[in-house]
Symmetry: C2
């Protein structure tokens, strides 16, 4: 048995004018609760330091950049790093990352994994950016991730930490079965992911009532079909007039939801996660080496699937 | 709107000594009911003509071959083909196929799609054979598909029929997210599949109570994540002392189960399936061209994923 008690620390809404220090204070309260309940790893949402700013269109780059972090930790987040270290708890944190690489300014939707010693041991930049790049005034609100971020180029390689092999993903990544399989083929035993998911999806509002169902469906399937733990954590509730789903959860390698948030506010759920349970699935029905037929999946990795089609 | 009324024709158990003619008679009764309810396509289970013989070990090849069909249609199944043609209804039928190809005798777990004119327009040979190849007497019953069949080499290419693009799969195929994605990248709008799934899974009996959940989870995720209709049809009930799950269903491109069997016997469910509804999903949240990142999924198509790992 390799058991890790994990906390999923859902956040309620963060107002546009709520300072990062306030959001960090809320996270520290959840972290302390988690430590008291035996957690050694706590998962916070995507873009957990501010309101979900991609809902607004602006051409003012300075206004956009103000939502980003240029250093991590920084003055606002250092108290979280320090408190976590003093408690011996690691964490996953999503934030907007502004960095200069190869002489160019980059904007990423990023998540980090911090170990119990306060050190960043994994940085992941969101690969599947949803939404659109131009202002679409017909929408009740925008979803401009394709405008404000550039896509990450990370593979879904896990890091050995907390007694297991842990991969990171963010929000819309979770809808894609490819990410769980890539991570599992690389040995992942647990995927951590934060999300901000509006109830209302302007291109297909006839599916709004299914947001909660779809959220769980994709994560439960990813867990079961790869024999992995999945921890999905929302920023939830009515944020600046936009309703975000909650239903943060911890999912076993069987696909069963073993802990579930029941509010749309700040809320902690915990579960003991035994990494050894992955083998129940991965050594049997989803034994990849025995049963997968990759030669019959030529389109999955193809840059241009139509070019390979028979 | 491109609407097709589809029938999922679940079968109850078929006893070891029940002749094919009897199974065919049961299927004709379901087919006639389906035609009366407006169906133009009826889906029957995997290996629908006989009992699920891979549960028994034998080294007597003649005994095995007796479960196979060397021609299709043949004397036993011709009445089904003829009745279907006279009703103007097409069908999916699973059976054990014995054929000679390239000078060698082949055994496949096969499904065919027959059009409303009685012509076989697609043949699919099961790609993901579950189970094992040797006798394992510790099991309450065997699952010798890896012994009695050779794996098919079919891609998941759909055929244009019944007003849409239709792909075939069989039983254990449905657990693999790869098949839905391969089919969808090839334009599939509907996947038809039959199954024989024991409640008891000897290698991990601690999951037996989850068989129904897993059955629906994988098919619903496959439908939603690819914006496709999925029709899954069981041979169900207590067959020669072995309990098989039922819960045959028709699943919309939203992942919602829109029709569900509620018995373990011969039972027909129907639903009007509009192929145009695939676009609600495939043009939006799962717009592959806009959102997939195949360059970051190098392992999915790799013959030996470990050789590519960073």
């Amino acid at each position: 048995m390799r058991e890790l008690v994990v906390g999923a620390a859902q956040l309620g809404p963060i107002a546009r004018d709520e300072p990062r220090e306030s959001a960090v204070g809320r996270m520290i309260a959840l972290l302390e609760d988690a430590a008291a309940r035996g957690c050694r790893l706590v998962v916070f949402p995507e873009l957990a330091l501010t309101t979900f700013f991609p809902r607004w269109y602006t051409e003012d780059q300075a206004e956009i950049d103000a939502w980003f972090e240029t250093d991590m930790p920084n003055a606002a987040t250092r108290p979280l790093f320090e408190r976590a270290k003093s408690l011996g708890v690691g964490f996953y944190l999503g934030y907007a990352e502004l960095t200069i690489e190869d002489g160019r300014t980059r904007h990423y939707n990023t998540a980090i994994l911090v170990n119990a010693g306060g050190r960043i041991i994994k940085r992941y930049r969101k690969v599947h950016l949803p939404g659109h790049a131009e202002n679409e005034p017909w929408r009740a609100f925008q979803h401009l991730e394709k405008r404000y971020f550039e896509p990450g180029e990370s593979f879904f390689e896990p890091v050995n930490a907390f007694g297991g092999e842990i991969a990171l993903a963010i929000c819309n990544d979770r809808r894609w079965p490819e990410i769980y399989r890539e991570a599992a083929l690389r040995g992942a035993e647990m995927v951590l992911l934060g999300y901000n998911t509006p109830v209302h999806y302007p291109p297909a509002p006839e599916h709004d009532h299914l947001q909660g169902f779809h959220n769980h469906l994709v994560m439960q399937a990813g867990a079961y079909q790869n024999g992995m733990w999945v921890v999905g954590v929302a920023k939830a509730g009515r944020e600046e007039g936009c309703d975000l789903i909650g239903e943060s959860c911890i999912i076993a390698p069987t696909g069963e939801i073993v802990a579930l948030c029941s509010t749309l506010g700040d809320e902690l759920i915990t579960a003991p996660c035994d990494f050894d349970r992955c083998a129940e699935i991965r050594s049997n029905v989803f034994n990849f080496a025995l049963h997968r037929r990759p030669q019959l999946y030529p389109l999955l990795s193809a840059d241009d699937p139509s070019s390979l089609q028979g």
